[in-house]
Symmetry: C2
Subunit: 413 residues, 2 copies
């Protein structure tokens, strides 16, 4: 029997048993959530450290003790921060909206310009692209390297066209590749000459403390921007969603005092204050100490690391000695990115779905969902259990092999 027939037979057998498993989204698993169940406990005070009654209205930028704890954790000045409700994505959308509609701190609203463009490192995060797409703003893909976005391309694009307005970045453990931006990358982003003097960096530090293997750090983008004379370039995002609970976390946006002052003129019309009860709960849960968050993240890593190892080992073994796939070992975060043979990603996702394994849609890692080579697949190893991953990975690897064999057979016919 030839290889294709053999793979087809084995796939047909697998389909019979068809599990119902999901490798598609970056959700924390139950055992990780369980580490934070005390967050559901009683809050024994309703007064913040400065005597504010957190039950009532007010406090636009967030409780001081929560800002301080997150400042200690992230190395971002507390007075740069606006703490909001859960979902840092909503802050990203809100900042995008303000830049598009009003401008921030002297920038022309993008909606008033002819053809704003946003740089999108690829593979990248589908929800960043979806925010951009919602406003109909053009996305320019920029290739990722092992050190972050291809900075030669970024510098050239930003320098030559004033319609290039911003870049989406996930500097630590990028989604989906788990790449860590090098110091040189951060420095070049912070200091590069841009045709638009109001060029912005969307710095989504979603996995800022989400180490899985070794602990990595990225350079201080605020300090570098300021010393390069670009103090208002950076909008920084973070949330506690993947620290305790996505269903009730604290999201933050941080930016220069001049930027936040301007943003607050609009935010003050959007709300009379975000949820301070959740902020104080978050502080109390970690006893106000960044150190405790770091310890908590080590406990989380203990649960997530075996999942990553299982996925990586499965891929290593399944594709040893072949040139079917390429992938990087992620340095941390929530994902792994895999390139299958050109033209095969959609086929793999469909084969896997029919065999009972849901994957992130092929193309999701590219703007508008269109991967020009149809080859990139994002794997999210965190949510299934280890036992589920043991079922999933052989199915997934078989689907990749089958799609590749189909392609070879097709092209040899």
């Amino acid at each position: 029997m030839d290889e294709l027939s053999d793979l087809q037979r084995r796939y047909a057998e697998l389909k019979e048993r068809g599990p119902d498993l999901d490798l598609s989204r970056g959700k924390p698993p139950t055992d990780v959530l369980d580490l934070s169940n005390d967050f559901l406990g009683e809050l024994d005070t309703y007064l913040s450290e400065d005597g504010t009654d957190i039950r009532n209205y007010g406090v636009a930028t967030g409780l001081s003790e929560c800002r301080r704890m997150l400042s200690d954790l992230l190395g971002v000045p507390a007075d740069y921060m606006i703490l909001g409700n859960n979902s840092s994505l909503s802050h990203m959308y809100n900042v995008f909206f303000m830049l598009q509609t009003f401008g921030i701190n002297g920038s022309t609203p993008w909606s008033k310009e002819d053809g704003a463009k946003i740089l999108c490192p690829v593979p990248g995060y589908d929800r960043h692209f979806a925010v951009t797409e919602d406003f109909g703003v053009e996305m320019i893909p920029v290739p990722m390297t092992d050190d972050g976005p291809d900075m030669d391309a970024v510098e050239r694009l930003a320098a030559e066209d004033a319609r290039v307005k911003a870049i989406w970045c996930i500097p630590l453990y990028s989604n989906p590749e788990g790449v860590v931006y090098s110091d040189e990358t951060v420095s070049r982003l912070a200091s590069m000459k841009t045709a638009d003097p109001h060029f912005r960096i969307f710095w989504d530090n979603a996995y800022g403390v989400h180490h899985i293997f070794d602990e990595h750090r990225v350079a201080d983008v605020f300090a570098l921007s300021e010393s390069a004379g670009n103090p208002d370039r950076v909008f920084y995002y973070f949330s506690t969603s993947k620290i305790n609970f996505p269903g009730g976390g604290v999201g933050l946006v941080a930016s220069s005092p001049a930027n936040t002052r301007d943003m607050l003129t609009h935010i003050g019309r959007q709300t009379i204050g975000y949820d301070k009860i959740t902020q104080l709960r978050t502080v109390k849960f970690f006893d106000g100490k960044a150190e405790n968050i770091k310890k908590h993240m080590k406990d989380i890593a203990k649960l997530l690391r075996p999942r990553f190892e299982l996925v990586i080992d499965s891929l290593d073994k399944a594709f040893e000695g072949t040139d079917i796939v390429t992938y990087k070992k992620p340095k941390g975060g929530y994902f792994l990115s895999l390139n299958v043979p050109d033209g095969c990603a959609k086929r793999v996702v469909r084969l896997a779905k029919e065999a009972g394994v849901k994957l992130t849609p092929a193309g999701a890692t590219w703007p508008c969902g269109k991967d020009p080579k149809d080859r990139n697949i994002r794997i999210a190893p965190t949510c299934p259990t280890l036992a589920e991953l043991e079922t999933i990975m052989p199915i997934f690897c078989l689907c990749v092999k089958l799609a590749a064999a189909e392609k070879r057979a097709g092209s040899s016919r």
Copy 2:
């Protein structure tokens, strides 16, 4: 000594003692907040009734048990509702943004039209005006009557000009007058012919269960709109902020299924799900029963009613037999609206401030903060204690009398 000199002398004495009290904003007082302290207690489950893990991502429209409880409370279909984070104001802003930027369910984005206009019943709510102003949309004041907005004016404006896009309404216990919209008003709003077929009603039912004296009801604006052939006219807002805690409530927007479906295409790009933990806490606090919310509101009314009575009695007594002020006894809600002699409101607010009583800025009840007659003052009796109100009201009344006497003296000179 003449009246003016006498008032000036008494005012000077008062200023000496200068308290530091606040009659400016519609905040719940401490004794009202204390009724909900169990909301800070332990949540003994993280599963919603359909088995959703509320700790994790997802559930765009809110937990079904929370939607059902609020549906029972408000008489709004549960499947019209999107439950969000605290602050219904943020939903109002978001809907306004969507109408302005994208249009909803077939309407042309207001930003693409030449000179959109919004009808604003006056006196009205400054935060409604601030949302509108943020987008630079023109506001047309419409006088309030004892039955709601002057419907002859509303119908005429909406019928004759397709640039008239929407109206802000607080149908039950309007801010600041405490007026209840009559059935006829609601019916005319729901059924009136409008030049723009996509005319919208912003139905801010902020005080929907916030009875103070008798319990009043407003007609069902959804049912009336639907039976009049305008099923997509209404955007309905409500929150639990003034039921338990403003600092951690559940806000909702409700609209027709066609409208909400369209809104969710954008909301799904703004967040991966609002705070479900707060939603489940809210359900558990009221044992899932609308009836318990109603009982809770009666307990709140017991605490707020004496404050309203003290304010009303003070005004009645201070101005008995004079024609200095006009005011309506509010039927419920959070405020009282007072007209002082034309040209005196700013003066009263300044006099009161200098005597230690902070009032809502004069003009706040008018679009852009500009009361053309400079006569309307909003009084917020809820937040001070009874003892504080006993200090505040004589000062306030004296300031009004002094400003009026100054005006008379000025005009007789």
